[in-house]
């Protein structure tokens, strides 16, 4: 979602964006924090000449190796964020959204964050699931809805965990013990983090942990321009939370225990390090602040403040950035660094369990997931393994899905249905010939009774020849079956043809009506009536032949 303004505001995009309410509210907070941190340190000038390929080639690494630098963009502004958000239409889980009458789109809980969704795109016969950023662990959001993903023709799978080897539960334990150890030794703890998401779980763990660890006097500071909003918003999305938290709201109690931490003054939140925070600031303490890349935001100040003392610890929990890269400009560093990435998204074991459960016909995923990570080439368990093998895609590649659409829904109006005459052709199979007017509106098809032919005006005395031209040609049904010659001849005789003569040919028979100079060739799959210019006779013969045939 963080790139949404680039699409809605820069590309001429004129469509609707669908998202759940928590996604919009929390997404707004994340973008607000980003814009705020960037705008706080305005740059006097910006350089772009280096993006020229010839110049870039000469630059030192890692700039030299950066790809697609011409695509790099400046951060958007708050008005752009608001404009982008105004284009969003709110939807709820399991809400069926009709798009142009052709497909239905449905968001499902993905279990990863408040309001996070997987999506189903389906027509009457095809179902495509988009699974991204899902979690099977029980944290605060509503559990992942797996049942609705069943019977997918295609399942697009992305947003798997970035740290497939780390166990989130173990990481949380490590986080707590490192934090406690540092504080007990009189040091400060810095947790670079986003203002929403895992922080709710960390605070909940600490809530249970601090008393037993004897940390009840250590202040926790949460510093972000949106800290207050994030904490408040987390409490009002009861319907998007896991069952336990929902039950609390029914009591009524706030679903997250950070409300109590705030009430008892253990957790304090500030919009920035300026203002009230500088008065209240007490050490040793624990600080949660952004940005996890350590390149901007208030975290930079704390790195510089605490980096020189080996008593202090910085604990990385967000998996989006390599902690070594993040720390590089601050080296040499006396401060302890602990890396406990907490990424609750699906790992490869969970993926194979999920696929076994959901059983899609085809799986589509990014290329990276079809091979082991480049740094651990021997770990063949770290890739998606399913039958048939997943189809992979690369950036800007167009994939054709191995699926052929064959049917579509159409509605038959009740009046038309009444007029149909089904015939049982084979046991259990009935057929009816339908001749009707097709109406297509908003991609919905309806069959209606053909209108009655308008009565020709009787007043016209002399009709012009062209008036008789058959107007809309009513299509005749196809015929099937074969004509038993003997019975046919009998029928002819019954109808007054006395001079019927039958000749055998290689493929069938020829029936001759001598007087009328008419000839009927009868073969297995065809009948040919050749007659002179005698229309009543021809019609009569036609009707007799038709009696032996089935119509479709």
């Amino acid at each position: 979602m963080m790139a949404l303004p680039y699409i809605t505001e820069y590309t001429g995009f004129a469509g609707t964006v669908y998202a759940t309410e928590p996604t919009v509210q929390i997404g707004r907070l994340l973008m607000e924090e980003l814009v705020n941190s960037i705008e706080r340190v305005p740059k006097a000038q910006s350089a772009s000449m280096w993006k020229n390929k010839e110049v870039q080639r000469l630059l030192p690494a890692p700039l030299k190796d950066a790809v697609e630098v011409s695509m790099w963009r400046k951060c958007y502004t708050m008005p752009e964020v608001n404009a982008a958000l105004s284009k969003i239409q709110l939807v709820g889980y399991s809400q069926k959204i009709e798009l142009f009458g052709a497909v239905q789109v449905t968001p499902l809980s993905s279990g990863y964050a408040l309001g996070s969704s997987n999506w189903i795109i389906q027509s009457h016969y095809e179902k495509v699931s988009y699974v991204s950023g899902s979690s099977l662990l029980t944290t605060h959001p509503q559990p992942m809805d797996q049942a609705s993903l069943k019977n997918s023709d295609v399942l697009i799978l992305t947003g798997l965990t970035q740290i497939p080897t780390a166990n989130p539960d173990g990481m949380v334990g490590e986080f707590c013990s490192n934090l406690a150890m540092t504080v007990r030794n009189g040091g400060n703890v810095l947790v670079p983090c986003y203002p929403s998401g895992v922080i709710y779980d960390l605070l909940e763990c600490l809530y249970q942990y601090i008393d037993s660890a004897g940390l009840s006097n250590v202040p926790f500071y949460f510093i972000s321009p949106v800290a207050n909003s994030s904490l408040e918003f987390s409490q009002i999305f009861a319907e998007w939370l896991c069952h336990n938290k929902q039950t609390k709201v029914y009591l009524p109690e706030p679903p997250f225990p950070h409300a109590e931490l705030i009430q008892t003054n253990k957790l304090k939140h500030y919009p920035s390090i300026h203002g009230d925070f500088s008065n209240d600031f007490k050490q040793p303490c624990v600080v949660f602040t952004g940005h996890p890349s350590l390149r901007f935001g208030d975290v930079v100040h704390f790195m510089e403040l605490w980096g020189k003392s080996s008593l202090n610890t910085v604990i990385f929990t967000e998996p989006d950035f390599s902690y070594l890269d993040a720390l590089a400009p601050y080296q040499p560093l006396a401060m302890k660094c602990v890396y406990c990435p907490i990424d609750t998204r699906l790992n490869f074991i969970q993926v194979s369990k999920l696929l076994k459960e959901v059983q899609p016909l085809h799986v589509v995923c990014p290329e990276q997931y079809t091979q082991p990570p480049p740094t651990q080439a021997h770990r063949t368990d770290l890739m998606i393994d399913c039958q048939p093998p997943p189809m992979s895609y690369r950036r800007a590649e167009v994939l054709t899905l191995p699926y052929k659409r064959r049917y579509e829904k159409i509605e038959i109006m009740p009046e038309l249905a009444d007029s149909l005459v089904p015939l049982e052709i084979k046991p259990g199979i009935s057929l009816a010939t339908v001749s009707a007017v097709l109406h297509t509106k908003d991609n919905k098809h309806v069959l209606q009774l053909p209108p009655k032919p308008p009565q020709p005006p009787a007043s016209k005395k002399r009709k012009r020849v062209s008036d008789d031209v058959p107007e809309c040609k009513p299509l005749k049904p196809l015929l099937s079956g074969s004509i038993p010659v003997d019975q046919f001849v009998q029928t002819l005789e019954k109808h007054g043809f006395s001079d019927v003569k039958v000749e055998d040919t290689a493929k069938g028979h020829i029936v001759l009506l001598q007087e009328a100079e008419t000839l009927i060739q009868i073969e297995e799959d065809s009948t040919h009536i050749i007659c002179d210019n005698d229309e009543p006779l021809r019609v009569k013969l036609r009707d007799l032949v038709l009696k032996f045939l089935q119509k479709f």
Partner: protein
Amino acid sequence: MPEIKVTPLGAGQDVGRSCILVSIAGKNVMLDCGMHMGYNDDRRFPDFSYITQNGRLTDFLDCVIISHFHLDHCGALPYFSEMVGYDGPIYMTHPTKAICPILLEDYRKITVDKKGETNFFTSQMIKDCMKKVVAVHLHQTVQVDEELEIKAYYAGHVLGAAMFQIKVGCESVVYTGDYNMTPDRHLGAAWIDKCRPDLLITESTYATTIRDSKRCRERDFLKKVHETVERGGKVLIPVFALGRAQELCILLETFWERMNLKAPIYFSTGLTEKANHYYKLFITWTNQKIRKTFVQRNMFEFKHIKAFDRAFADNPGPMVVFATPGMLHAGQSLQIFRKWAGNEKNMVIMPGYCVQGTVGHKILSGQRKLEMEGRQILEVKMQVEYMSFSAHADAKGIMQLIRQAEPRNVLLVHGEAKKMEFLKQKIEQEFHVNCYMPANGETTTIFTNPSIPVDISLGLLKRETATGLLPDSKKPKLMHGTLMMKDNSFRLVSPEQALKELGLTEHQLRFTCRVHIQDPRKEHETVLRVYNHLKGVLKDYSVQHLPDGSITVESILIQATAHSEDQGTKVLLVSWTYQDEELGSFLTSLLKKGLPQSTA
């Protein structure tokens, strides 16, 4: 013919104990399960024995839907599920699920503990009943079973109130519950999309009222409260703990702040704190403004409004008290009313509708001497004011909802018969749809005429839509296909495919006619004349002159040969298949008439 049957067990030409049975496409759904506040006997609850005499309710009902937490919509629920016995699913929104058991418990306490009734549901029954509840999100499509699905829409009215769409196949019913089409100080307006249900079941509490603007009513209310307080009187506002109470609290709170008033405002204890807390936690269900500002200032944290203690009622001096319940039929509001009724300086403001039989209803209809329990006569000297703050749609709102949803039929419930009659006429006049208003126990049957969905092969559909790109209303194009019915599936395919699937081969029926034409010219000249003639007559058809000397009209072949005996006569062989029967027949008769001389 498919039909939808509706039977109100309560709220049929009446307000109170809402309970409506709907049968749609073989599914039975019960809408709301309310109690009647005006009665203390059997009439209090709907007559569930109507549903089934000796079978289990669970076998008969596919689901129960509760629209909102007011007791006249959910009050009979524990009785129904635990005492009569129902184990199927009960659907309601999250806030309703949260608040409903609290109101039920409150109601139980008043009935059992205070009035000493026995044979009433217990606290445990309320808990067991709530375990059967499935909470739904707004707009979420809930699949009750394979065929039956329900969907909730925002209804305003009170926190968590919802309208429900019940859908089976392409037949659907919308039940509004109670709703409000104008946003108020704490809730938004009801909204529904153009879902074109076969039937809309709407409440009609204010069927004949068109209310003036909300602002006027608010100003009026504040003026009356202010005046009474100024002259040292006490104001009693009987309310239900959740709903109107919060709206009026917000109103008074801001007024007190602006006017810097000092007179105390109390809210009767018990539910207050809790109620406001629910509003804080379910803030996503309130209106836009409150949702936007809640981080800075939560509208449900009141500075001027304090908890009420029973002893305060005897305090001297002015005060404003919100007390429950709202219809003065029991509890604290009735106690305070009895204390204050004798003083003409005081005032009671009824901010909502009162059900017949309640004290509230009596004083509103002008009665000033009330017979209380124990044959005591209470004389009412205090001023009695009625202000319609209950958040029901007025006549304008009901019409607006009908316009939004575009139902094929409308059915009125939750209103008084006379007023319904008036609204019914108005609806039938304006929208030209049937409008019904069954009494309790009376069944209304509505015939639906659903289209039949079948599968059409994409090949056939594409063929048809490709040839008819430009829709022409004057000359509708006929499509031709074969409907295959096998087991229970219906598929529309092209005739060729039907033949193929059945393993049959096509039987071609062909006609060839000889037409004699008098024309002394050479064969190819004759052909050319025929060609020009046909081209002239058959403007809409593709007429082609092939290099081998034959002519085709669509797929009909015409060849000319000289007569073996008479060179002046040419024989035209016209050959067509059965599929071109009309055209072929027309051509032969056309050619038989000979060629026009003018083309010579």
